[in-house]
Symmetry: C2
């Protein structure tokens, strides 16, 4: 199978109540590709400036990520985001945002990318997501993610993408915003009516819900006693979820369930350090160990 | 084995965003005893006025609850509470509270109650809970519950009860208030240091965490797409948890895990209707059906 991921590659400056990091590598594509790389060899589509660190590109290559679709703009500057978290790791404020080369991003897929089994439209504008969809032969599975900003500013375009999507990833805030429904069970079911065959609702410390028309999967999160940096948790979740499915080679219910737990596992590692630090140091045995631990603490 | 429950028996007036009920039967003892009665024959200790409905006493007897410890004060009026819920079912305001006969309540255990295997100190003032503890031969297991009001007004007395407690039931708000810790994993571990061997942290729609010194159990909640009346959910949880343990006859880890899931199941039924209505109509097969469903939706 094959997995193509389209999303943002960025520099992030992150402030938490305890600490601050300046211009570290982030972005939805970066996190999800690194998380997926523990299961398969994802191909990524993104754009960066000449300032993008060669060490990060080298790390991605070492992890088996195909960078043919990563455009480097000579003399350009990479997308920059500055965010601040309060005491609640689920709440953050954007302090500054410079689109830089991302402002003119037209994601064009290399020919070798155009027949993916799985296509992941990570968090970028829904009109760009539509542009990507127009370039691929019907993949076996299309997945997407978005954020509050696009839900509020481009709802029609978002709804069109949603109708062409098989798996929609949302966190609790996004699911409520999309549906106007406070109860997450009702919100998840309402989202299913908008197109996707599966809605994956990520509840952070409270685990995950996977909605299908006639069934539900619910699982707890890894018990985390301290979040260092929540950035990229959702992207890591989606990357691992889809990376696992790509490796499994099928979309059976049992594979979906395991994919959701692997998603949860990778997200739980990402938040243990700033940026991609924890993912960069991660070993496959760490992942399997945590998967087994989660299974153990939730068994009756 | 045997289970003694000491707590409040009350009239509640309940207002939710959708509906309102006047003077329906409630109270921590009532909910927990009814929930426990699906597993064992609990003995209750409480106080009511002459206005307490004979039909409720008859229902309790039919459900095998021993009422020898329920004092009826001639000419007295039953404890009265009026509460209002907003859109968030986890938040409520007390609009009125008349202690009535509960103001002079001195829980005195009948001789046949004084050697219980399990003693549940449901939500009453911690000084009353201490008074109860002084009357029993060391039970195999002491469990307790409390509310925000006592955490704020009687912290020293509460800490003394906690030191004599084996199982402490708390919801997320109470755990944070008791410890000053926002992260629930850290809060649960801090509570273990205050005395109990087990801390059962109820997270409502997000499930339950059971903390023991060297282990953790985490489980999801029943997916509930609409709460009619959240009152009594925590009491029902604790009652079912302890009722199941009393029936199981041991406190092994596997029994504790099943007890927590049964607790979750009974709480999920209680909130489906006002007051004790759903518990009054419940059948054992409903409980087993929902237990099996929860196990199914959370298996990988």
């Amino acid at each position: 199978m094959s997995l193509v991921i389209v999303g943002s590659v960025a520099f992030d400056t992150i402030e938490t109540p305890e600490d601050r990091r300046e211009r570290i590598v982030g972005g939805s594509c970066t996190y999800s590709a690194l998380a997926a790389s523990f299961f398969t060899r994802p191909k990524i589509v993104g754009i960066v400036g000449e300032d993008f660190p060669k060490e990060t590109a080298a790390l991605m290559k070492r992890r088996g990520i195909d960078l043919k679709g990563l455009k480097i703009v000579p003399g350009g500057k990479t997308f920059y985001w500055e965010g601040r978290y309060g005491d609640d790791p689920n709440q953050r404020d954007t302090m500054r945002l410079d689109l830089n080369v991302f402002g003119d991003f037209q994601p064009n897929l290399p020919p070798s990318y155009r027949k993916p089994d799985i296509l992941f439209l990570a968090n970028i504008g829904p009109s760009l997501q539509e542009h990507v969809l127009s370039q691929v032969a019907r993949p076996r599975l299309v997945a997407m993610d978005t954020i509050r900003h696009y839900i509020e500013t481009e709802p029609e375009s978002l709804d069109r993408v949603l109708r062409k999507t098989d798996i929609y990833f949302a966190n609790d805030e996004e699911a409520r915003l999309m549906t106007g429904e406070r109860n997450l069970i009702r919100a998840g079911r309402l989202l299913l009516e908008r197109g996707p065959r599966l809605v994956v609702l990520k509840k952070g410390e409270h685990g995950v819900l996977v909605f299908k028309k006639d069934s539900l999967f619910a699982f707890v999160a890894h018990p985390c006693d301290g979040v260092v940096d929540p950035t990229g948790a959702g992207d890591s979740f989606a990357g691992a979820f889809l990376g696992y499915l790509d490796r499994a080679g099928d979309f059976r219910a049992s594979s979906i369930r395991r994919a959701a737990v692997y998603g949860s596992v990778l997200a739980s590692f990402t938040i243990e350090d700033f940026g991609i630090e924890r993912l960069a140091a991660l070993k496959k045995s760490d992942i399997e160990g945590r998967f087994a631990y989660l299974k153990k603490i939730a068994s009756i």
